[in-house]
């Protein structure tokens, strides 16, 4: 089936003469996940807004995006039509997997979207607020079990940062990794763990239905329509955003890089993109150019530090 699809794509590519603005976006993950839906939404909007006449999405899943990243670096050098989607999870995965390629090997273009991390407890829990939870953790870190996504991911990092901010040894935290927010949600609803931590979107429906209590979010300011303090407001200096970005191939000339950056800016500012963000509940975190590069360097440094503190990276 997929081969027939490639065949059809190939035929279509032959029929339409190539434009300079044709793009091929790699989603370094399986179909259906966050990076995949980012790539496919980009494809949709870029074509609909006339930014590019033909955009293709390819999936290369594996190892937090590092398998795809390695393939991208090896095969796309100097080709301005090649893009790759990535994000915070990739920053951690590059470190924990000791990946031979890193984000320094591609040309980061812009940060596009982001989502805050939310901390919840089951509705039946005696813990009422984030202070109660952190105090319990300070008293006995092992007794507070956290259900969240995969080890070394953004959820795990947030718990580590929170522990550090509260003066708790991050190596002592009892983090129980689940394969994604879904399984973690089941464990939280079933009262198997003390608290849960995952993307806000995963928990909001449960919070609205009254089966979970939202204690705090990791954004830098209060979120509209979300009745919970930020961690900073609660007195813990932790701001975490699970952001997603787009990068271009290594070895681009300055003109090529400027062209890609201009196209992505057009995308991020377009009505179609803004509507897609609203539909999916993604925050607009558009940041490009030198600002983004500085921010990225800062995040990589902070992530390396906390992963060392948790003991995941030597």
């Amino acid at each position: 089936m997929k081969h027939a699809l490639y065949g059809a794509m190939f035929a279509a590519a032959l029929a339409v003469p190539a434009f300079a603005n044709d793009y091929s976006i790699m989603a370094p993950a399986s179909p259906g996940g966050g990076w995949d839906s980012t790539a496919r939404t980009m494809q949709e909007v870029m074509q609909a807004e006339g930014i590019s006449s033909s955009v293709q999405v390819t999936n290369v899943p594996g190892a937090g995006g590092t398998v795809g990243l390695a393939q991208f670096v090896a095969s796309s050098s100097g080709d301005p039509s090649q893009l790759i989607v990535g994000g915070y999870v990739m920053v951690g995965a590059i470190l924990t997997n000791a990946s031979p390629v890193s984000l320094a090997d591609v040309t980061p273009i812009a940060r596009l979207t982001g989502e805050a991390v939310a901390i919840v407890v089951p509705a039946a829990s005696p813990i009422q607020d984030i202070k109660g939870l952190v105090d319990a953790m300070a008293a006995d870190p092992g007794a507070v079990s956290w259900a969240g996504g995969s080890a070394g991911g953004v959820d795990h990092i947030t718990v580590g940062l929170l522990a550090k901010a509260a003066g708790v040894d991050p190596t002592k935290i009892n983090y129980v990794a689940f394969s994604g927010g879904g399984e973690a949600t089941a464990a939280i609803l079933g009262n198997q763990v003390t608290a849960g931590i995952s993307g806000l979107g995963e928990f909001l429906p449960q919070v609205e239905a009254g089966t979970m209590r939202l204690l705090a979010v990791s954004s830098d300011a209060r979120l509209e329509g979300v009745d919970a303090p930020t961690l900073t407001e609660a007195g813990y200096d932790v701001v975490v955003q699970n952001w997603r970005m787009v990068a271009a191939a290594p070895g681009l000339s300055d003109e090529q890089k400027a062209q890609v950056t201009a196209d992505i800016e057009k995308l991020a500012k377009s009505e179609g993109w803004q509507k897609a963000l609203a539909d999916k509940g993604w925050a607009d975190t558009y940041l490009a150019g030198a600002d983004f590069e500085a921010q990225l360097a800062k995040e990589i440094e902070a992530t390396t530090a906390i992963l060392k503190d948790i003991g995941l990276v030597q």
Partner: protein
């Protein structure tokens, strides 16, 4: 409105001509991708997701559900006829099904799979409609320690059910468990046994191993026997349809399979594969024809096939009631819901009843369509077995390789396919059962993670494993399944048992 009138209203939605068309497209595509090894329903739904941006919400979800059911069904066809399971849930079907096909009873095997899938799908969908809110409460009782106990039960019953020698069965199982270790450990993020190969970081793909062991191993085995060998494959012997005796032996297995499959499917960490393993073990224990097991017992096809379809309906319980996707396909269907601005979760039944009941009703419709589509096709499918052996096995090799590469186009994947194929050949040659390897690979990581999660939550206290009544009962059952046969053997009933256990390859 009560459940019943909601369901009637849903049926009215599902019977709109456009909805019927979407359901038909869904089941046809689903059956087709189920037949191809490696390309599963998850991938198909994912590829179709962008296509459905323009369609209406109800229609595309109905199509996805059709693909899901169709895929569960289609996987059985290649398992039975070609010994090439398309998904992990149909690995077990290959055991008895392929033996039946070789004995000229491919028709009844396919028929019992089709009708069993239909019966299970129908009952499970009705259970989904009427019992979902209650079942989900039960499913949430299952935490890490209960899942671990369930895995132990599955390990014991399954390994006891395979092969003539318990030792050989265990060797195979442990090979599978060792392979299951490969990749990034989910709980700590550390890499194990990947030897610096990035493609190994995510572990070994179950379908790659299953296709290599079953299809490649078998092709090599047949080829090694030389050109003039008559492997004794009979295309058709007797009737293509099921006999009265086939019906009599199948219907109880269908019902038992449904009873096992639906609850296990609705557990957030359950799944169709575990359901099919447990169903096979149950049928093997309860059958009145133990001598046929391993040689083509129809219950061994009927039960697991019913179980995997019932489990497929079961996975929609946590999806619709809690918003929890428990399989890859369900995760992508969740993305589909979100694409239309619907958040599946505890409020979905209240906020979008029309859509939910439309979906449940169209599952019923899709189920009937699958039966209508597949029963007449059985006559054509079994003609595959009339293809001369060199052509047939050559075709299987091409087909298996394309399927595996289609999912994961990398030379490493191809190397693994060849390597495991050779291993499958050697294991056949030295009379080790194949299925426990695949079972070990599927269940190993689940058992390990659940055990470690349970211990992490209890801060290392092992007694936590028996402190929950559910877990304690499951572990006791597992212990009984292990010890009772030993006692029987010690009392001199060993002869009867060794007759029950026969090699499945």
């Amino acid at each position: 409105m009560d459940t019943f009138s909601f369901l009637l209203q849903g049926l009215a939605t599902a019977f709109e001509p456009m909805m019927l068309l979407y359901a038909l497209i869904g089941v046809t595509l689903g059956t087709a991708v189920g037949v191809l090894p490696g390309i599963g329903p998850a991938l198909t739904v994912a590829l179709l997701l962008p296509v459905t941006y323009g369609l209406d919400a109800a229609g595309s979800l109905i199509m996805f559900a059709g693909i899901y059911y169709g895929g569960m069904y289609g996987g059985s066809t290649t398992s039975i006829l070609l010994n090439t399971p398309g998904e992990s849930a149909s690995v077990i079907t290959a055991l008895e099904g392929n033996k039946m096909a070789r004995a000229g009873r491919g028709g009844p095997a396919l028929a019992t799979a089709a009708i069993g899938s239909f019966v299970a799908g129908l009952l499970a969908t009705l259970m989904l409609a009427f019992l979902a809110p209650h079942v989900v409460k039960l499913a949430l009782i299952f935490g890490p320690r209960e899942y671990f106990a369930l895995m132990v039960l599955a390990f014991v019953t399954v390994s006891a059910a395979f092969g003539e020698s318990a030792l050989r069965g265990l060797v195979s199982l442990f090979i599978g468990l060792a392979l299951a270790m490969v990749g990034i450990d989910q709980l700590t993020g550390q890499t194990r046994l990947a030897f610096g190969v990035p493609q190994l970081l995510d572990g070994i793909e179950v379908t790659t191993l299953a296709v290599a062991m079953f299809a490649l191993g078998e092709a090599l085995f047949v080829a090694a026997q030389g050109p003039d060998n008559d492997s004794g494959i009979l295309a058709i012997k007797g009737r293509v349809r099921m006999t009265a005796q086939d019906w009599a032996r199948s219907w109880k297995a269908w019902l038992r399979g449904t009873a096992i499959g639906f609850p296990i499917g609705s557990m957030p960490a359950g799944g169709a594969d575990i359901a099919s393993f447990l169903s096979y073990a149950t049928e093997r224990n309860m059958t009145k024809h133990p001598e046929e097991f391993g040689k083509g017992a129809i219950e061994g096809v009927a039960g697991p096939e019913a179980a995997n379809n019932a489990a497929a309906a079961g996975t929609l319980v946590p999806l619709l009631t809690l918003g929890l996707p428990t399989t890859a396909t369900a995760a992508i269907m969740l993305a589909g819901f979100q694409q239309f601005g619907l958040q599946p979760g505890p409020l979905l039944f209240a906020t979008a009843p029309q859509l939910v009941w439309g979906l449940i009703a169209s599952l019923l419709v899709a189920n009937v369509m699958l039966l209508v589509l597949n029963l007449p096709l059985i006559r054509f499918w079994i003609l595959l077995l009339k293809i001369p052996q060199p052509w047939l096995y050559g075709g299987i090799l091409v087909f298996a390789t394309l399927g595996t590469l289609g999912v994961n186009p990398s030379p490493v994947e191809l190397m693994m396919l060849v390597l495991f194929g050779t291993m499958g050949y050697l294991m056949r040659l030295f009379n080790y059962p194949i299925a426990p390897v695949v079972v070990g690979l599927i269940l190993g990581p689940m058992a390990e993670q659940q055990l470690r999660r349970a211990l992490s939550i209890s801060q290392g206290d092992w007694t936590t494993l028996v402190q929950s009544p559910v877990a304690a009962v499951l572990l006791l059952l597992a212990l009984a399944a292990l010890v009772v046969p030993m006692i029987l053997r010690a009392r001199g009933r060993g002869d009867a048992l060794s007759q029950i256990g026969t090699a499945e390859d």
